[in-house]
Assembly symmetry: C2
Homo-oligomer: 334 residues x 2
């Protein structure tokens, strides 16, 4: 691999994404992406007693499904990267504790899914691993309870709020295979523009997405139209518009190729999620559900995934802090 | 690099640890390791209004000190790996938000410091980065508040409890330099032996430390005495004894070379921490403070760091869950 420009790493023997899996909750199963997911659950508990245990079960079963689909034995997976939004990333560590695969816990908030794929790619091309598993999860109920208010309170959500996606996405990556290939990654810096509204995550994360996007394009000397699709993780309607504006101000017209998984996940009219979807599972399930299939079927040939994360918690908001954002980008080509 | 045995990765051109830094709190500054740390704080707040902000300041200043000591410009650091024990790893992300270095947040509970060094080493040898920063922090007051009880309650601690170390350790690693070198790493699997007592972390994490230690020794066909010191992160007195027993049952006599940073940090008689120290900063500060200097001065030539983490949170304990443990090992030689 080679370092190119400021922050980009380009692979000489790009790792393959062998297979993927996605499981989503009932609301996501009623949305426009429904038919692309492996499983749409009928309720938020999935037979468990708590939302946290349900989220653990979701990531566990998503990972099992990805492994089965990949035809790679669990014993041949050398490393696992996983994380989630819950305090101390418990849904990953409890969900994957029986996996018996060396485990690197990661936390990039909603950027976790792509953070894992960045690190997994480096491990594969370097020879540190032949096969790598990456997974991330989120759950509307466990996230609301932890980051905002008890669901039982029936609190009103402001128009800028986003709806945490219930679900999990998992990918199995390998040294060898027929693609799609991870050809380059651009790990992002923390960007904090002073946004303090914890109900406007899109605005807080958009500057980080913009920073990573422009850095990626400059580092590789690419126009936005090099890609069939540039996809951010969970900026929602508000954050998406901010990225388009910021890019336009710098002379990049991204409108024709750019979209956001938070915008794609729910139907704006009928599902009432205000500014759209969010959470680690937002880009995790939409990539694993929709975009991976588009690449496999050659309907798309090059995409850029930019997963965004808001690196705050409930305490920092109470203490009056602003919200640091981050975004990691990964170029996937067939 | 090469994969050897079940889980170990051995480096062909081992990355160098260029320099390190450590800042600790007042209690740690009164302990037996005091003289090895760069800074011992006079109080737990360091001029900040909250413990969380104080912890962010500690990791920030530790990282700044490590960068200054290394003589590598911040602009030449290609990647940063950092994490901590606070919900959503806020002390790292807020402490390092002005750093302007591509940032991978990691969460391995108290194994975070060595997890970062594992990933950093892979990135350096592979060419993904020339210089990497790894850091981790913990803070007694912010951790007690979050994981156990409000400090103001003056709750009694059981004899198996450990004392979270206030402080931060940081290392700068590089492609080139005179060592000490990171020669091999053994990333660990999650091990859960069913321990449910959140006041006995040493017992919960010891089986993971044992598993990673024995795997490392077998993978590389080494006896424990290959190392001048085998050092676990924060098992404390109880966990340390369990590891010695487990190893002995498998025919490994590690007593002469093995110690634990939780045991080393505080004076058993005068400092009353019950089973010893814990927290990400425990191995972070003792490696950066004490062991790095032993290696630099050639008083030790080969050490094995095994950082251990308990992958639980307050909610999992309330929900009656057991405590999954993890341990990552790293071999450092001159």
């Amino acid at each position: 691999m080679k370092r190119i420009g400021k922050q980009t790493i380009k692979f000489d023997s790009p790792p393959t994404i062998v297979d993927v899996a996605s499981i989503v909750g009932p609301k996501e199963g009623e949305g426009p992406m429904s038919k692309y997911f492996d499983v749409c659950l009928e309720d938020e508990f999935w037979g468990e007693k708590t939302w946290e245990k349900a989220e653990s079960k979701i990531i566990k079963e998503t990972v099992n499904k990805a492994i089965t689909k990949s035809n790679i034995a669990a014993a041949d997976i050398d490393l696992c990267f996983a994380g989630d939004l819950l305090n101390q990333c418990i849904s990953s560590s409890f969900g994957l504790r029986e996996l018996q695969v060396p485990f690197f816990g990661i936390f990039g908030a909603c950027s976790t899914f792509v953070e894992g794929m960045c690190l997994g790619s480096i491990c594969i091309e370097s020879g540190a691993a032949n096969n790598v598993l990456c997974a991330a999860s989120s759950h509307f109920c466990s996230a609301e309870k932890q980051f905002r208010y008890p669901l039982e309170l029936g609190n009103q959500r402001p128009p800028s709020a986003q709806w945490t996606v219930t679900g999990s996405g998992a990918v199995i990556m390998s040294k060898e295979g027929e693609g799609p290939y991870i050809t380059a990654i651009t790990p992002g810096k923390i960007v904090d523009m002073g946004i303090k509204d914890a109900n406007n995550m899109g605005a807080a994360m958009a500057p980080a997405a913009f920073d990573t996007l422009i850095t990626h394009l400059k580092d590789l000397d690419r126009a936005p139209t090099y890609y069939d699709a540039i996809i951010s993780g969970d900026l929602g309607y508000i954050g998406k518009d901010i990225v388009i504006d910021l890019a336009s101000n710098k002379g990049y017209n991204i409108k024709s190729v750019y979209n956001d998984c938070g915008v794609l996940m729910f139907d704006k009219q009928s599902q009432d999620t205000h500014s759209g979807g969010s959470g680690c599972a937002c880009i995790g399930t939409i990539f694993s559900g929709y975009f991976f299939k588009q690449l496999k079927q050659r309907k798309m040939k090059r995409i850029l995934l930019i997963a965004t994360g808001a690196l705050m918690n409930a305490t920092t908001t109470q203490q009056g802090e602003s919200i640091p954002g981050i975004a990691h980008a990964i170029s996937i080509e067939v």
